[in-house]
């Protein structure tokens, strides 16, 4: 039986395609319930009686502010501070080794798909505490498709639940203050990160070449053809010999030869030289 708020198949398809067009993210059929759950606050806020009414408004203005809001609430923004401690230990080791290779040039790191900012702020804390071996702190550029998520990252403002996920208490008191029951990153920490809006599936990467790119738990939401395109885009933004870090369940294997698994760092992928190509026939 379909409930009063349940979406019809056509409406579900429309919302799913809006998300995919804007961000490349796909919602699996068995996760379709997420659409209804995520959109309920939008209905309340806008005083709309049903999801069908929301879809009706979307059809009237698919490029407007309502569409932006719908896309924002549907994006999976799951993240946490120091998500996967072993990865951060390896990032620190790899960055130290790279800095030794490149001499006095400032190391450049891109956190691609940074969601609400916990990953780049974790990197900023890591390198603020690890100044030795770095002539200047690495440049950290953080991008996400969601303007709302980036706004939260720039504000550095987190709930009690968010601040406790992965963040050791000593770092919490060192880098955050409490304001009105929330935890706010100190300006000297937030200043270490450049937040920029960028759609990995459509926009050019931030300018210049990066030494290290973290793009974790992002690819898994893209179709295989789209993953190949995104690997091309990431490859265009990394220097030969640079390192790409993916999420635990993600790989380049069978999708691109721009990157090959690193022998030194588990789950890291080294950028090949300029002759590499995307594997068009794979997958």
């Amino acid at each position: 039986m379909i409930g009063a708020d349940a979406l019809s198949g056509g409406a579900m398809q429309l919302i799913g395609s809006l998300l995919e067009q804007r961000t490349g993210q796909q919602i699996a059929a068995n996760r379709a319930w997420r659409i209804e759950t995520a959109l309920k606050p939008v209905l309340r806020e806008r005083g709309l009686p049903s999801l069908d009414a929301l879809v009706g408004q979307l059809l009237g203005a698919r490029t407007g502010e309502l569409a932006d809001q719908v896309v924002d609430v549907l994006l999976n923004q799951e993240t946490s501070f120091f998500r996967d401690v072993a990865v951060h230990d390896q990032v620190a080791a790899a960055a130290t080794a790279m800095q030794a290779e490149i001499g006095n040039r400032r190391l450049r790191i891109w956190s691609a798909g940074c969601s609400t900012g916990q990953e780049p702020l974790s990197l900023a804390m890591l390198f603020a505490e690890k100044a030795e071996g770095f002539p200047m702190p690495p440049e950290i550029v953080a991008t996400d498709v969601s303007a709302a998520a980036l706004a939260r990252g720039r504000a550095g403002r987190y709930s009690q639940f968010e601040i406790q996920r992965g963040l050791p208490v000593r770092r919490m008191v060192e880098w955050f203050d409490t304001v009105d029951g929330e935890w706010v990153a100190r300006p000297e920490l937030v200043r270490r990160v450049q937040f920029r809006q960028q759609n990995l599936t459509a926009d050019a990467p931030p300018p210049g070449k990066f030494d290290l790119i973290l793009c974790r738990n992002v690819m898994l939401y893209f179709s295989l053809p789209l993953r190949r395109q995104v690997f091309d885009r990431l490859a265009s933004a990394i220097r030969p010999g640079g390192l790409l870090v993916l999420g635990a369940g993600e790989t380049v294997i069978g999708l691109t030869d721009h990157f090959t698994p690193s022998e030194a760092y588990r789950g890291f992928y080294r950028a090949s030289g300029p002759a590499a190509t995307t594997l068009a026939a794979a997958g």
Binding site: S80, Q160, Q164, R165, V169, M172, V173
Partner: protein, 121 residues
């Protein structure tokens, strides 16, 4: 299997914490105040103590100081778990030797994350 001693004067909190910890494969012991907790630690040290702040008989802070002065060889990790969520309390706990701090209310992910940080999960 790692052992966690849950110290809280609330039976409900002990029950909730026990449930979460058992799903994380911990053997769970319970104490209703700091004095009971200290006796339990001195008899058989657990790997980690999940410690409330305000309790009758002996508070969490008094327990922490007594544990520090007890000369216990295998000092367990101590994770405060309390509604005292102000910065001054958190700093005081760290200065007294707490290894981590969980602000109530908490959920499974928070507890798991903090236990990973202190190296017992």
């Amino acid at each position: 299997m790692k052992t966690c001693l849950v110290v809280d004067d609330s039976k409900v909190i002990r029950k909730v914490a026990r449930h979460i910890l058992e799903t994380l494969d911990f053997e769970v012991r319970e104490a209703g105040d700091g004095r009971e907790a200290l006796d339990s630690c001195l008899a058989t040290p657990p790997d980690v103590v999940l410690l409330d702040w305000n309790m009758p008989v002996m508070s969490g802070m008094d327990f922490l100081r007594a544990l520090k002065n007890s000369g216990i060889e295998q000092r367990p990790k101590v994770v405060f778990c309390t509604t005292e969520n102000g910065m001054a309390y958190i700093r005081a706990a760290i200065e007294a030797g707490a290894d981590e701090y969980v602000m109530k209310p908490f959920d499974r992910e928070t507890l798991e994350s903090k236990l990973q940080i202190v190296g017992v999960a």
